[in-house]
Amino acid sequence: MEQISVVVVGHVDHGKSTLIGRLLADTNSLPQGKLEQVRTMCVRNAKPFEYAFLLDALKDEQSQGITIDTARCFFKTEKRRYIIIDAPGHIEFLKNMITGAARADAAFIVIDAEEGIKENSRRHGYMISMLGIGQVSVLVNKMDLVGYKEEIFNEIRKEYTDFLGRLNVHPANFIPISAFKGVNVASTSDRTPWYRGMTVLEQFDAFEKGDVRASLPFRFPVQDIYKFTEDGDTRRIFAGTVETGKAEMGDKIVFLPSGKRSRINTIEGFNTPGRTIVAPGEAVGFTLQTQVYVKPGELMVKAAEDQPHVSPRFRANLFWMGHAPMIKDKKYKLKLGALRAPLQLVEILNVIDASDLTSVANKQQVDRHDVAECILEAPRPVAFDLSGKIRFTGRFVIVDNYEIAGAGIVLEDIRSEDSALRRHVSDREFAWESSGISSAQRTAAYGHSAKFVVFTGDHQEKTEVLAAALEKHLFSHNFKTYYLRMANVISGLDVDIKHESEVRDEHIRRLGELARILTDSGQIFITSLSNVDDYDLKTLELLNKPNEILVINVGENHFSHYQVALTLDVQAEEVHSLEKVAALLKEKKVILEYYL
């Protein structure tokens, strides 16, 4: 049987819980005796009966008297099964409301006919639009309190249609109801002879379980890469959940942002019949025809389809749930698909009060419950889609101090030569105090120019041996050189870098700064790095500016766009490799011919 989730939102006390309780009662979905039990309890406590009590499963929730979280109730019609999500209306529980609403296929917005449209009626409308819930029905509740007057209903309909229109939300209908009395909930009523539309129950069945995902390009966030070796398993499996589109065995695929390419070899599963094709929503695994080395978090797409954007910067709409405001120059964590990356707020373009859609001028920070349009930047390029095109890969959350504090959708790719790193380097160079000895003077005295030489490759030991050999070789020719062993930095200068997600980037940053200083001293500064990617090398190159870097790759070259200066064969003899490096240094005029 088909099942869909429907969320009920609205301003606090406008009657969400009453509506759900009534629906459950009228469709015989309550456990036997439950209703009587609650009624008896109310009599015993001398409290008027409330349907909300039915839903208040938790003790302390009852004592507080407000729905603090998204309770889920189940009921079914002839057509299908429903999960009703009761989203709390109180602003303090916005993140609970969002948790509930984000799972929904459709939404009911409840508005109190007597009180009219309130702050959270609007705020929730905004959230519905941002969450991309396309199907909405508005319930004008407590019609009994306004004498079932059509004019009042029409007024609210007009005003709220207008408001939702500005958010590009177009409700399927407005239904005048009395949740408490059951008017137009499960059956029509002679109280509203002027209303000819659907009841709430009919509207449930009228929602469509639209799923556009299959018709979109293939998007597969790589959640993890497994190589379980037990029982002789040799598979290297790229695991994740298909967001959109389809892929088949043999399809040419690209990983982004790295740009690495391969083809799908097999589709893996456990205790499933062999598959040759995958579809949206499936949690699967792939093996590839040729091995590529990418990290979890990349986006796998098909080479033949529309490509996502790859850029460190983008413009987004976001809403903030964090207790601390979002501010510039602070490091946040971005989670987009399977990716986790550092993130900074570059610029606030506009802060909107979601309760009335007015702009709050000149804000320097995004406060709790604000909705903001802003420019965000990651230190390295990120793969994403624009939410208008493929919303499933065009949305993200922001983590601040261990908590999911913001959520947003991508509006535009802002490609720019400008980046936080470039700004940093230009600021640093501006402030740099030059030595009294010029680099030309040092070159003349030392017999060579300064250089940052980086050995890299899969075979860590091999690259380290070569780096050490080069240091010795150059030293024996009286050159000023130093080979920095990364282990020495990690347990010394970098010992304070603890935060898991930052470790790599921070090591690279400090190494780049160190290179800038040591090349300034005129040395040939050597190091050996394993497990670096294109962007790490670009970062080192930039941080070492104005001095130059030479990257020597040992073994198979995995870089997709960074041009390494030289690639050495792993099998080659050390002397031959050294000769090649020396030749390179000559060619690049690091060392002058007659010295060797």
Binding site: K59, A283, Y402
Partner: protein, 293 residues
């Protein structure tokens, strides 16, 4: 995708997320149908492998068939099986069956406390040694901070307020008022050092879903769930002094599914055979706060 396929995909996603993010991760395996289905989902997620230890709290009052079944699967699936127990309370006969505690207190002592100390590593853990074919004292005393549990939202009111990833503070306390947001397949996976996290991959499943999945995938479950001629079967498994079977003629998975579908049991809570829940209307809630799942 069918309803079951969707549930499976979500659970697999959550399990992979947990494995990716948490270094010291374990799964609680009560031997019941839910956590056994969850164990199966783990094999789905990791393509036949179970890449973290399974923890079982042995109260010494489990129905013996459950223990035999546990060890059989541990062998067959080469599970990294960890067993914890409140050996002291059992030795001192500080239990309900020994007449010294109420049912609820007994649960607290034999389950909650044993679980807490087994996870933290300050009580002895017993690990199944596949070479020796028996349990030996585990040398690993590191605390497990990520714990995967098979709670379902439909089981009890209190569970419908849960999250897939729920932090517990250091004392395993649970703040229901301030649960993290979960949206777009993004869960709270960042935690201050020392935080304990509960992961609930089965939150969206119902009792019927579990049985249908067991049927579809042909997952081996303890035969205690089926009528074996006496017109009774267990609907929920626990310790023998506190668990009663229900009247039922369902003798296999299909018949259990049929029985659930007829609604014969619809108005009887699933855990109604569990006597400890009756001592206090918020029984499970009280236990949850103490860390018992």
């Amino acid at each position: 995708m069918t309803h079951l396929e969707k549930l499976e995909a979500t659970s697999v996603h959550i399990l992979r997320e947990a494995y990716r993010e948490f270094k010291s991760l374990v799964m609680l395996w009560s031997i019941g149908k839910d956590s056994t289905a969850m164990l199966w989902l783990t094999r789905k997620a990791f393509f036949g492998h179970v890449p973290f230890p399974l923890v079982h709290i042995d109260t010494a009052f489990k129905i013996p068939e459950m223990i035999a079944y546990r060890d059989k699967l541990a062998r067959e699936w080469r599970l990294n099986m960890i067993v914890g127990q409140n050996t002291q309370a059992i030795a001192e006969k500080r239990t309900f069956p020994d007449g010294k505690l109420s049912r609820l207190e007994c649960c607290k002592v034999l389950k909650s406390e044993a679980l807490k100390h087994t996870l933290s590593g300050d009580w002895t853990r017993f690990r199944f040694d596949h070479k020796l074919g028996k349990y030996v004292e585990d040398t690993n005393k590191e605390p497990y901070t990520g714990v995967i549990v098979g709670a379902r939202a439909d089981e009890e009111g209190s569970r419908s307020k849960e999250r897939y990833f729920s932090p517990r503070d250091r004392d395993s306390e649970w703040d229901i008022g301030d649960q993290p947001p979960e949206l777009w397949g993004q869960y709270k996976t960042d935690f201050a050092p020392g935080t304990h996290v509960r992961v609930h991959p089965l939150l969206d499943w119902t009792e019927l879903d579990i049985w249908e999945y067991i049927g579809k995938e042909n997952i081996p479950v303890v035969p205690l769930y089926f009528n074996r001629g006496d017109g009774k079967r267990y609907r929920s498994l626990g310790c023998w002094p506190c668990t009663a079977p229900v009247e039922s003629t369902a003798g296999n998975v299909q018949e259990v599914i049929e029985e659930l579908k007829t609604g014969k049991l619809a108005n009887i809570a699933e855990r109604s055979g569990r006597e400890q829940d009756k001592e206090d209307s918020g029984g499970l809630e009280t236990l949850r706060r103490g860390g018992y799942m």
